[in-house]
């Protein structure tokens, strides 16, 4: 069955849909967690600490967090490799372009590939910035509140983050509805519902994530 899935275009899309929905679930939790920044450093840093103690006492310190991290890396890799292989195949299946060009498909649909690449690059940058602090100007482990303020006090920090969040919104808008089709949940009667859900998810995630840099830039959070 694993081979059937991996060798088939339909199977590979299934893998993309499942990993995509898993990442989407994570993004919702991540976005909601980020909003705690509006309640001050005590609440935000305390929440970051809880992420490390979550699962205790059954699990040891940081075990639950590492399980989530391993799951996310697996999802990103499977999703990315499938996207790459399917895209290669798609381009090969349509080598000659039409002489008479006309605009095709919606913006969100057309930007899945470039949007995905932007997201992959952003994930790297984001980890080096706010998890390891490698590219951060004044990183201090255990003080995420201050680290976030510092990131959004640089112009490039804001630009990178906002561009990535907009790309994420578009990716989710087409991705969520697509995943429903891939998994066979979509049908004619549910189509409007699924599209509405996709739009709401994309809008809520985009606004939620963008509220943080905007709040820092406008001094609401400092």
């Amino acid at each position: 069955m694993t081979r059937t899935l991996w060798d088939s275009t339909v199977g590979k899309k299934t893998i993309m849909a499942v990993t995509g929905l898993f990442m989407l679930g994570y993004l919702v939790a991540h976005m909601v967690g980020n909003l705690k920044i509006f309640f001050g450093p005590g609440e935000f840093d305390g929440y970051a600490h809880w992420l490390r103690t979550m699962g205790e006492p059954i699990l040891h310190y940081e075990w639950a967090l590492w399980i989530v991290r391993v799951g996310l890396v697996a999802a990103v890799v499977l999703h990315g490799v499938s996207a790459y292989q399917l895209s290669r195949r798609d381009i090969k299946a349509r080598p000659a372009k039409y002489v008479h060009k006309r605009p095709r498909a919606s913006y969100a649909t057309r930007t899945m590939r470039w949007g995905g690449i932007i997201l992959a690059l952003f994930i790297f940058w984001h980890i080096l910035d706010l998890t390891t602090g490698t590219v951060h100007t004044s990183f201090e482990a255990g003080h995420p509140y201050q680290n976030v303020i510092d990131t959004f006090s640089t112009w490039y920090g804001n630009v990178i983050y906002i561009v990535a969040v907009l790309a994420m919104g578009l990716h989710v808008q087409h991705g969520f509805w697509s995943a429903a089709q891939t998994l066979g949940v979509g049908n004619a009667t549910r189509d409007r519902l699924l599209k509405t859900l996709a739009n709401i998810l994309a809008a809520v995630l985009t606004l939620g994530f963008i509220s943080v840099p905007v709040a820092v830039m406008t001094g609401v959070v400092s």
């Binding site: 069955m1 899309k13 798609d90 949940v185």
Partner: protein, 248 residues
């Protein structure tokens, strides 16, 4: 009316092709697009030139042979087959681009004619169905619930023209394959091979070099028979069900 045509000319599969420009005059709005091309071909033949090769058969919109990309749209600006497209959809003085279906699984044979035998091989891979010949069976011999009959009929309308592949930016045959799979898989006649049919047809589709589905929706927009986009989701559901049931 008077029209300028820019038509893809290619002598054979090996040689590269190019767009060639022709003028046609005295075209009536009541002519079909293919009759307009017939007019061009008569003139070309009289002038001692090679006529433009294009596929056609029934000219009634039921066989699926005609296949032209007209001004970038598979089957042209109306939602119908090229043979049922009439010149009243164009205006005097228009320049019209005419190109063949483009997909690596549909190689050009000559001018506007492409080889669509990859579709036949997808159908063949689906295997057996019980199709009694001779006198028509009694209408109530095999009961089929009305919604299932409607669903099957909607998909049986596919004429295998390949416009879906031509319109798809990935050259994907998912809409065609889903029409064939859904048509048979919902009916009692198709039940014995329900799982193997969808697995084999999807595998064959991949082997033929069609692209994957990115749910762009161009296929369903181009389809002259209105096979809807959710058909693809329905086939995905069948495929996932079959992978769970059949061990390979």
């Amino acid at each position: 009316m008077k029209l300028t045509l820019r038509v893809w000319r290619q002598r054979n599969a090996e040689e590269p092709g190019a767009m060639a420009t022709y003028e046609v005059d005295n075209i009536s709005a009541d002519m079909s697009f293919l009759e307009m091309l017939d007019t061009l071909n008569e003139e070309l033949t009289l002038a001692g030139d090679e006529p433009v090769a294009f596929d056609h058969d029934c000219r009634e919109g039921i066989c699926g042979a005609c296949s032209l990309v007209i001004n970038g749209d598979a089957h042209g600006p109306e939602r119908t087959t090229t043979c049922q497209l009439h010149m009243r959809s164009f205006s005097d003085g228009d320049t019209i681009d005419v190109e063949p279906w483009r997909a690596s699984a549909f190689p050009v044979i000559k001018d506007l004619v492409v080889d669509r035998s990859s579709f036949d091989r997808i159908i063949q891979s689906g295997g057996y169905i019980s199709a009694p010949t001779g006198t028509a069976p009694d209408a109530h011999a095999t009961p089929v619930p009305k919604p299932d009959a409607d669903f099957a009929f909607e998909h049986a309308e596919c004429i295998g023209c390949g416009a879906c592949v031509a319109a798809c930016p990935n050259g994907s045959a998912m809409l065609f394959t889903s029409a064939k799979v859904n048509h048979l898989n919902v009916l009692p006649q198709g039940a014995p091979e329900r799982e193997t049919r969808v697995l084999d047809m999807v595998a064959r589709m991949d082997e033929e070099g069609f692209g994957g589905c990115t749910l762009t929706g161009e296929c369903a927009t181009a389809c002259p028979k209105g096979i809807p986009l959710p058909s693809i989701a329905a086939m995905n559901k069948e495929w996932l069900r079959a992978t769970r049931k059949v061990r390979r």
